[in-house]
């Protein structure tokens, strides 16, 4: 579903073949622990593990392209703001005339930037190796109601679909003489006539999709069988529990004085 609109990249790696819930557990627990872990060393460790997985999945080049675009500006901003202006700044790292850069700020910025890098890495690792439709399918096979599964699926697709629809409506309006190119105010003005038809078309599309689902038996009160079962294994099941269990364990460790 919506193959062209998702980030999914075809592949045969271990991660591509892993159960969607295993990948989901890995992503969520990596992000959580990266933010719970107290020091740069630990966060760096998680980052390295994620990078190894990204490389194994064969999506390193794609990740570097998107991650650089997101992380570079954030990291630079963090380094500047924290290094120059953090309230805990004491130790001078270097000074350029009256402008002083501090070690404490640098350390705080580096930790925050690394955590965000882990978040970005884990999220894209999941997105690149998992089809959007597989997420809701896997959840439904684990007992999530089909209605909720549909909600999850719709939520994942709503942005690309809406952008697509907005593009088509704007093409139609331009072809009929509405100026959408040129100066910023002119382009901003062109968004107003787009809004109402966009909302309206979305509602019409929703109604038609509901009917299409209904005639294909979506609302039938029957037990469903899955079109295919995701390959799972005892190892993956154990791994999922370990990954999920690691999060409360990390929180407990922090509370017990993990520094």
């Amino acid at each position: 579903m919506a193959g062209g609109l998702s980030l999914y990249a075809e592949g045969k790696s271990l991660l591509h073949r892993a159960h969607p819930l295993t990948k989901g557990a890995l992503t969520l627990s990596a992000i959580a622990i990266a933010f719970i872990a107290p020091s740069i060393g630990w966060v760096l460790g998680i980052g390295v593990i994620l990078l190894v997985l990204v490389t194994a999945a064969g999506v390193l080049r794609r990740l570097l392209a998107v991650a650089a675009a997101i992380l570079l500006p954030i990291t630079l901003l963090l380094l500047a703001v924290q290094g120059f202006a953090n309230a805990n700044n004491r130790t001078v790292a270097f000074a350029l005339g009256p402008i002083v850069y501090y070690r404490e700020g640098l350390a705080i910025a580096a930790l925050a930037a690394l955590r965000i890098a882990c978040l970005v890495c884990a999220t894209f690792l999941f997105s690149f190796t998992t089809r959007p439709a597989d997420i809701s399918e896997a959840l439904m096979q684990r007992g999530l109601s089909t209605r909720m599964g549909y909600v999850v699926q719709s939520a994942l697709q709503i942005i690309p679909q809406t952008l697509d629809m907005a593009g088509r409506i704007q093409d139609a309006q331009r072809a009929r003489g509405l100026e959408t190119e040129g100066s910023l105010p002119r382009r901003a003005r062109a968004y107003l006539p787009l809004m109402l038809p966009l909302v309206l078309s979305s509602l019409v599309a929703t109604q038609e999709r509901a009917m299409a689902l209904e005639v294909r038996g979506f609302g039938l009160p029957v037990k469903r069988v899955a079109r295919f079962e995701f390959a799972d294994s005892p190892l993956q099941r154990v791994l999922r529990w370990v990954l999920i269990g690691a999060v409360p364990a990390a929180i407990a460790a922090r509370l017990a004085g993990w520094r």
């Binding site: 088509r168 409506i169 093409d171 139609a172 309006q173 331009r174 072809a175 009929r176 003489g177 509405l178 100026e179 959408t180 190119e181 040129g182 006539p193 109402l196 038809p197 309206l200 078309s201 019409v204």
Partner: protein, 258 residues
């Protein structure tokens, strides 16, 4: 002119497309994926050529905005649902002339004519989405005509239309021709092409395979087959009866009398 979609597939292969469309009514035909709709979008600037240029009525399309092109080119999309966005048929049809800042009198005249020519009189206050597909198609066509453009592009106007609708389309195209407009019709309906379009361009795999009078367009069967076309039914009938080539009922009758 060359064009490639993102992803790099060239629509018009080496050395690119060179085509001159005259005035009058021209049919643009060819198999699915031949590059017909791409060509019509290039004519109004919704797509821009990657090399070469497109000139419509003396305007170089790449140099002006799509909205400015709309003064000259009325464009009816293949799928009316890609095009309709207003709350009433009246508002939809008058959208073009309104945003083009036509005079009140010009808007009234253009809209009234478009509604009449498209059989939408009495449906002015209906929501376009409450109409059937065929009527939505007519609203889309009327919207393209209401600004009284010099060039009219109709992408698949015959799709899903019944016989009376096709007859109306035929008389509409003739009326546009009488008013001195240039009309380009993209269609798979060869009976319609034979009856309503004196000139035809056959596009196949991004290349022009034929450009000239419709009466000669069906002569070379290899071109017709390659372009996934079926000659007009009167032509098949004339061949069966051993008559000369015919593309319209009038041709057939005169050949039969001879």
């Amino acid at each position: 002119m060359r064009f490639a979609y993102p992803g790099g597939v060239e629509v018009y292969p080496e050395p690119g497309l060179t085509l001159t469309l005259g005035s009058g009514v021209t049919a643009l035909v060819g198999e699915n994926g031949a590059g017909k709709t791409t060509l019509t979008k290039l004519l109004i600037g919704l797509l821009r050529p990657s090399a070469g240029s497109v000139t419509v009525a003396g305007l170089e399309v790449a140099k002006i905005t799509v909205a400015a092109m709309a003064r000259t080119v009325g464009y009816s999309f293949q799928n009316p649902d890609d095009q309709l966005f207003e709350r009433t048929v009246q508002a939809e049809v008058s959208f073009g002339p309104r945003v083009l800042r036509r005079s009140a009198e010009g808007i009234e005249r253009g809209v009234a004519w478009a509604l009449r020519a498209c059989g939408l009189e009495g449906k002015e206050d209906v929501h376009p989405h409450d109409l059937g597909l065929s009527e939505r198609k007519w609203v889309a066509i009327a919207s393209a005509l209401a600004g009284e453009p010099a060039v009219v592009v109709l992408d698949e106007p015959t799709l899903g239309q019944d016989y009376p609708s096709r007859e109306r389309l035929r008389s509409l195209v003739r009326e546009l021709d009488d008013r001195g407009r240039s009309v380009l019709v993209v269609t798979h309906d060869m009976d319609f092409v034979g009856e309503a379009c004196p000139t035809a361009v056959v596009l196949s795999h991004g290349r022009v395979r034929y450009s000239g009078p419709t009466s000669k367009a069906f002569a070379d069967h290899s071109v017709i087959q390659e372009a996934g076309l079926e000659p007009p039914h009167v032509d098949s009938l004339a061949r069966m009866l051993g008559l000369s080539e015919c593309v319209s009922e009038a041709d057939f009758l005169s050949a039969w009398r001879r």
